[in-house]
């Protein structure tokens, strides 16, 4: 039996190309490979974007650290001794020419009549 007759005996007419399941499988394989490649590219681009974002944040963190350091230094410079002396003298302050110590009799807190005691008494009276 020649080939053309054999194909007719099965009730369907076959193409002369060996397509059908083979073509479908090949398409599937190629599509899968394409999908894999696409996934790879997608992942790579995602990594790149995330890494760039991380890098930006890191740079921002470093910038903030450096800004903080500069601010701390500015505070120190603004409050250094020559500036304080200058500001104090502009306010009319000067080193004391004479210092006197006043002896103060310190009474133990338990026995001392204090405002706190009066307050407590009043509070209790008000209850």
């Amino acid at each position: 039996m020649d080939e053309s007759k054999q194909s007719e005996t099965h009730g369907t007419k076959r193409s002369s190309w060996p397509v059908g399941p083979v073509a479908a499988r090949l398409t599937l394989v190629v599509a899968l490979l394409g999908l894999l490649a696409g996934l790879f590219l997608l992942q790579a681009s995602e990594i790149a974007v995330t890494a760039r974002r991380v890098e930006t944040l890191r740079q921002k963190r470093d910038d903030l650290r450096r800004e903080n350091a500069d601010l701390l230094d500015q505070i120190a410079v603004e409050g250094n001794i020559p500036r304080l002396q200058d500001r104090a003298s502009k306010l009319g302050l000067a080193p004391a020419s004479q210092v006197e110590y006043l002896p103060v009799t310190v009474v133990p807190p338990d026995s001392a009549p204090t405002l706190r005691g009066q307050w407590t008494k009043n509070s209790e009276a008000g209850r």
């Binding site: 059908g20 479908a24 398409t27 190629v30 394409g34 894999l36 990594i47 350091a69 701390l72």
Partner: protein, 562 residues
């Protein structure tokens, strides 16, 4: 399946095959088969080693004020071969505040990478970075700064452009203060930015350890102001003041003038970097009689009431040792010996003790050895001993009143502080705490041994207090009991002494009943008077009276009333 569908499938398969297979094949070839080759090639072309340096540890005073800090500075560089000259000149010149013509000339003439600006402030550095100019780099780095400028400069030292500490605390604690480094092997993209596929950026390296000093900046400012006033009033060329807590050895202030601004160390003469308080040696003169008397008391050779016959001069080892006033004071007790600062009396004591005993005591006070203070370049001074070839018998006489030997101011104050501290010699120190993250290490006061017994120390304190009173010394501080001793020394030069120049000094402490501070004042080559009693003593009085107020030490009568 119809032929039409099959046909379409075939076409699709063919298209996909044509499009995808080469891509896949290329991917496999580049990333698997020739992976190593291309990785090496990429590294060779875009490989970049970045060193990440953490900031140096800060230095604080004991009240929490910053003394040494780090600020962010930028360096701007460019590759002349790769830049777009017109664009760069147009955009960069205003940012760097450079004349466009100069910038153009610099870029046109430089064969390699050229530095266009350094030590640029944060705003400028970032502005240049944000221009995103091709082959122009704005790189940040940490720069050491000293917000108080000249204050405490010789104690702090400085840090050079390479981040290396020199002199003072910066020098001796360099390895502690220095921030750690991390080297990052990375690759750059075409814009010289880190490649996004690199391993994660390394964790920030550990910053250096912070140091807290025993010194208070207010005390220091006051001390420097008094020293400056003393130089102006006495005409002295230079001077040193040390303020110490005699009970612990903690340095409260340390000043030497002339000093320098560590922010501008490059334009400072090198000799100003030297901290004369620890590195400058001198003949102490009569202040040394405190140690001679301590030795004699410790040996039981004398008591405060012991008398001797003071002749104007005494021959020791063939050398005639004379009093400063060339007068014979006759029968004199030990308190008057100190009050009138009699060289003959001191030489009498040392010769009676004998060399072995005298030098043993002098060494017990730390003379001839470094004190171990945590500052760079401490000197040991020079003390000739009987075992030394260049020692002469006359040395026993002249050493007793501080001639023919050399000490540093820190040695001298530490030795005398032992008398105020019940005979215990303390190691002076300037760093009170090390702060490493959350961990705080606090320095403990360290005794360097016992120089004399507590009883002898009390006796000698009383004698020195009486000496200050009997002399009507300008060192007296109204309201406080003060003990101390003046010194006037000649300045040795090759072949003799540099007449008529002297070094005037005073070491004293108070309140005697509860010593809170000891002060050494040393003035070099004063012109107003050669005598320490007239130059250094008033400085002590002024400084001590103000420091007592700042420290909250009330006068003796107020404390007694408590």
């Amino acid at each position: 399946m119809s032929d039409y569908v099959r046909y379409r499938l075939m076409v699709l398969a063919a298209v996909l095959t044509v499009v995808v297979v080469p891509v896949v094949v290329q991917l496999v070839r580049l990333q698997v088969v020739q992976h190593t080759f291309y990785e090496d090639l990429a590294k060779a072309i875009m490989g970049h080693t970045e060193t990440v340096t953490a900031p140096r540890g800060r230095i604080w005073d004991r009240s929490g004020h910053l003394l040494a800090d780090n600020v962010s500075r930028y360096q701007v560089m460019a590759d002349p071969d790769s830049v777009n000259l017109d664009n760069v000149v147009k955009k960069l010149a205003p940012k760097l505040n450079l004349p466009p013509g100069d910038l153009r000339a610099t870029l046109a003439s430089a064969p390699y990478q050229v530095v266009l600006g350094t030590s640029l402030p944060l705003a400028t550095g970032r502005a240049v970075r944000d221009l995103n100019l091709w082959a122009v780099y704005s790189t940040p780095y940490w720069q050491r700064t000293y917000p108080e400028h000249q204050l405490l400069s010789q104690v702090l030292g400085f840090v050079n452009a390479k981040g290396e500490g020199y002199y003072g605390v910066e020098g001796i604690y360099d390895s502690v203060l220095r921030g750690h480094k991390k080297v990052w092997e990375t690759t750059q993209d075409a814009w010289f930015q880190p490649s996004p596929f690199d391993p994660a950026y390394p964790d920030s390296p550990r910053p250096g350890i912070d140091l807290v000093l025993t010194i208070d900046r207010t005390f220091q400012a006051l001390t420097e102001a008094e020293l400056q006033r003393a130089l102006t009033e006495t005409g002295a060329k230079s001077g040193t003041i040390i303020v110490m807590d005699p009970r612990t050895g903690a340095i409260l202030a340390m000043a030497s003038l002339p000093s320098f601004d560590p922010n501008n160390y490059l334009t400072t003469p090198k000799e100003r970097f030297v901290n004369l308080a620890v590195s400058g040696t001198y003949e102490p003169g009569s202040v040394f009689k405190v140690l001679t008397m301590a030795a004699a008391l410790q040996e039981g050779l004398v008591t405060p009431d012991t008398k001797y016959n003071d002749t104007a001069c005494l021959e020791v080892g063939g050398l005639s040792v004379c009093n400063w006033d060339r007068k014979a004071h006759g029968t004199t007790n030990m308190v008057d010996l100190l009050a009138h600062s009699l060289n003959v009396g001191a030489a009498t004591l040392s010769t009676r003790m004998g060399g072995q005993t005298f030098y043993r005591h002098v060494q017990a006070f730390g003379i001839g050895q470094t004190t171990g203070i945590d500052l760079q370049f401490e000197e040991a001074g020079n003390l000739r001993m009987p075992v030394d070839l260049d020692w002469h018998a006359s040395d026993l006489g002249v050493h007793s009143f501080g001639q023919g030997l050399s000490v540093t101011p820190i040695q001298m104050i530490a030795a005398v502080a032992a008398v105020a501290n019940e005979g215990v010699l303390m190691r002076p120190y300037v760093v009170a705490q090390k702060i490493d993250g959350g961990q705080v290490l606090t320095a403990k006061p360290t005794p360097n041994g016992r120089a004399i017994s507590a009883q002898v120390a009390h006796t000698l304190s009383g004698m020195l207090e009486q000496a200050v009173e009997r002399e009507s010394s300008p060192a007296r501080v109204p309201g406080y009991r003060i003990a101390g001793k003046t010194g006037t020394a000649q300045i040795p030069i090759a072949g003799g002494y540099d007449d008529p120049w002297t070094i005037g000094s005073f070491v004293g402490w108070g309140p005697v009943s509860d010593p809170r501070l000891i002060i050494l004042v040393k003035l070099d080559r004063p012109t107003s008077s050669p005598w320490g009693a007239q130059t250094a003593s008033p400085v002590f009085s002024r400084l001590a009276s103000r420091l007592f107020v700042l420290m909250g030490v009330p006068p003796d009568n107020a404390r007694a009333a408590k």
